[in-house]
Symmetry: C2
Subunit: 417 residues, 2 copies
């Protein structure tokens, strides 16, 4: 560890250095999220590629970083890499975040190849030095392809372990990363606390994993659900023809779920007060379709198209999107709460590319946790929610120094403002 500065608790300045695979230390002193970068406000997107913005500046790191990390999931491959900023007044560099559709993994490999070619300029190293740390299922499925295409060392790391390493890093070392959400305060940064463990990590990608973490290396996948981001995307694209997640979320913003959902009031004509269900509560997601479609059929069979697209004429795509987004988020929230009860965990972190900083999603997850726990528990979110595993992989490959880093963790709970 190169830094000898003392670390006051709850300061945004970070002190310790982290050792990377090439035994070069990454100096995270003074690390911060780059919010004034134009890329942070309007992420550049091209077909199948998504530049994230919100880079993390590492102003004091000047050494060579000879690895990139990629977390290849079912739908997206998330890449984290370091670049030097020689023209910046404080030198140093930044962590960059970018993702690719897994179905177009070739684009991702092309990008890594380019990083390798430019390695000297970006990192100050030579191109033979670069290695790739890979995690997620694709680290196995595409192992041979990665190796052959890139002609570099591929180091594989377990997905769950990377998620935990990444989340621990974000919780303890990056200021203004972890936040709670409410409609009045959409991004209230979490204060540091000495008792990080235990927590429940709910990672929402194509599917959902729920991991109970009891300590730095102590964890168990306690459950999950296959109703996740892939379900939302898949059903929405089939119902509406929308082709990007962002388009679907934009539709959800404009929609009113009561156009397709059956509310308690639709069944009762009033609240069901005896058991505390308000008339505006959702009784059945998409439950209005049965009645309205049958009514339409009863009135005129001619209006019905054979392939089921008549739904388009009665129901709005926007309403469907909002309904489904709500259903998937609320369902995950309920299961996460019940798992947190079963496993006696109070803090629940939601990560994964499904969330994308979308207000409705976070509001639903937050509300579900508050509702079911009667205000006892809270949902926490991350600004780099999609990159937890990739960052974990980036930080993980340092067996010789792993014990030393852990011992540093114990006295530096540095998240918060």
């Amino acid at each position: 560890m190169s830094s000898t500065d003392p670390t006051p608790v709850r300061t945004p300045r970070l002190e310790q250095a982290i050792t990377n695979p090439g035994s070069v230390k990454i100096n995270v002193k003074g690390a911060f999220i780059v919010d004034d970068d134009p890329r942070s406000k309007s992420p550049v997107r091209t077909d199948g590629v998504h530049y994230e913005g919100h880079d993390i500046r590492l102003p004091h790191h000047t050494g060579v970083v000879s690895h990139v990390a990629v977390d290849i999931g079912g739908s997206l491959a998330k890449l984290v890499y370091f670049t030097r900023e020689l023209d910046s007044p404080d030198n140093g560099g930044r962590l960059n975040f970018i993702n690719f559709e897994t179905g177009r993994i070739d684009l991702c490999l092309e990008f890594i190849k380019q990083l390798k070619e430019e390695h000297q300029g970006l990192n100050g190293g030579t191109k033979d030095e670069l290695c790739v740390v890979a995690t997620g299922g694709g680290a196995y499925k595409y192992y041979d392809k990665l190796k052959e295409t890139l002609n570099v060392d591929i180091m594989r790391e377990d997905e769950m372990e990377c998620l935990i390493t990444g989340l621990d890093f974000f919780i303890t070392e990056i200021p203004n990363e972890i936040f709670t959400y409410s409609e009045t305060e959409p991004m209230q940064f979490a204060e540091a606390r000495p008792d990080v463990y235990p927590y429940l990590l709910v990672n929402i990608g194509s599917g959902v994993s729920m991991i109970k973490v009891s300590g730095p290396k102590q964890f168990e996948r306690v459950g999950g659900t296959h109703l996740g981001g892939g379900t939302f995307w898949g059903i929405m694209s089939m119902l509406t023809g929308a082709r990007t997640f962002d388009d679907m979320l934009a539709m959800a913003d404009r929609g009113d779920n009561s156009g397709v959902d059956m509310l308690v009031g639709d069944i009762y004509g009033m609240d069901y007060g005896k058991i505390g269900l308000k008339s505006t509560a959702i009784a059945s997601t998409f439950g209005k379709v049965f009645r309205l479609k049958n009514a339409a059929q009863h009135e005129s069979d001619d209006d019905i198209q054979p392939n089921g697209t008549n739904g388009d004429t009665i129901f709005k795509h926007e309403d469907m999107s909002r309904s489904l987004l709500y259903a998937i988020s609320n369902n995950i929230g309920q299961i996460a709460y019940l798992q947190s009860e079963k496993h006696q965990v109070k803090h629940i972190y939601f990560g994964g590319s499904f969330i994308r900083g979308h207000r409705q999603t976070m509001n639903t997850l937050s509300y579900a946790i508050r509702f079911w726990s009667k205000g006892e528990k809270q949902a926490y979110f991350l600004r780099h929610e999609g990159y937890i595993g990739a960052v974990g992989a980036f930080l993980r490959r340092k067996p010789a120094n792993w014990g030393r880093r852990n011992s540093v963790d114990e006295h530096t709970p540095a998240n918060g403002i």
Copy 2:
């Protein structure tokens, strides 16, 4: 109570009589489910009406029954009524089960009107005597309509209380009603047990209610989910154009969910052995759509229809149906298990019209309970799963004798063969 026969435990013969609203006792001695009735094998169906079959014969009941019971839910109105069988060798009568789409409640009212007109012939009463016991949300929403159209007394009963009364009746008094499901033994009738309580009732209609029942009158709605039968019907009808639940279930029987679902093997290319996930496990419901649709678009944008129906060309309706049926059932199973853990309940009963005796649905629910509980808990089903609330309403309106009936229950746990 008219019967004085002693009741051996675990005999199919039932002894006690139940008092009905008109203070006429219903003699359930020797009650049994009519399986040799042709209607039981091929239920007669007409537009918006579904004759259930599986009537319950009450061979020893000869008195007038002056009420019918209706449970009006979000999608279906379930009706239970008594008819005498004067031409049968043992006289007596039977409980009949029929349902109507709630959206066509007029058909239901027409039917009840007809029952009223024929009351003398069917029941031996006069038409002025007939009254209607109503439960479910529609008992409130359609109260005025029921009263005006039928011109009879409408007695309303709370939905949850009716569900419990109905389930208690089926558990304790109807032989061959409650069963467990497994692929090798699709209908193994449950044996009677002295400790009926506590149990969890999971009622799957348009939406799902989960009720913890601790005693004959002690219950709490502990949760539920709005991903229920209405969700399955709504999404399926929009995706495939199918218009009846039975058509959708038939499609599910022919489908292969891996056509649309992303499996663990699709992500890993193998098992994810470290956390015990097999390559055939579902990672994301409909999760394959993202990758396959984007691949299709990448290859040829011309194939894509603007309204999203291109899903039809890549994905089979049968696969979608199986996937969604599995997803909804498995999700309910997981939440039911977690609620049963939180509330320390071992026996879980699944009712509601969503199930419809469908093997895949029951198999999924059973499997989910076995899987999550590591074999500690079991799912129970009912042959009259859709009529729990209606039967409860039918039996419930007897305040003067309620206490007496409960005291009878205590010494006659009579379910089983």
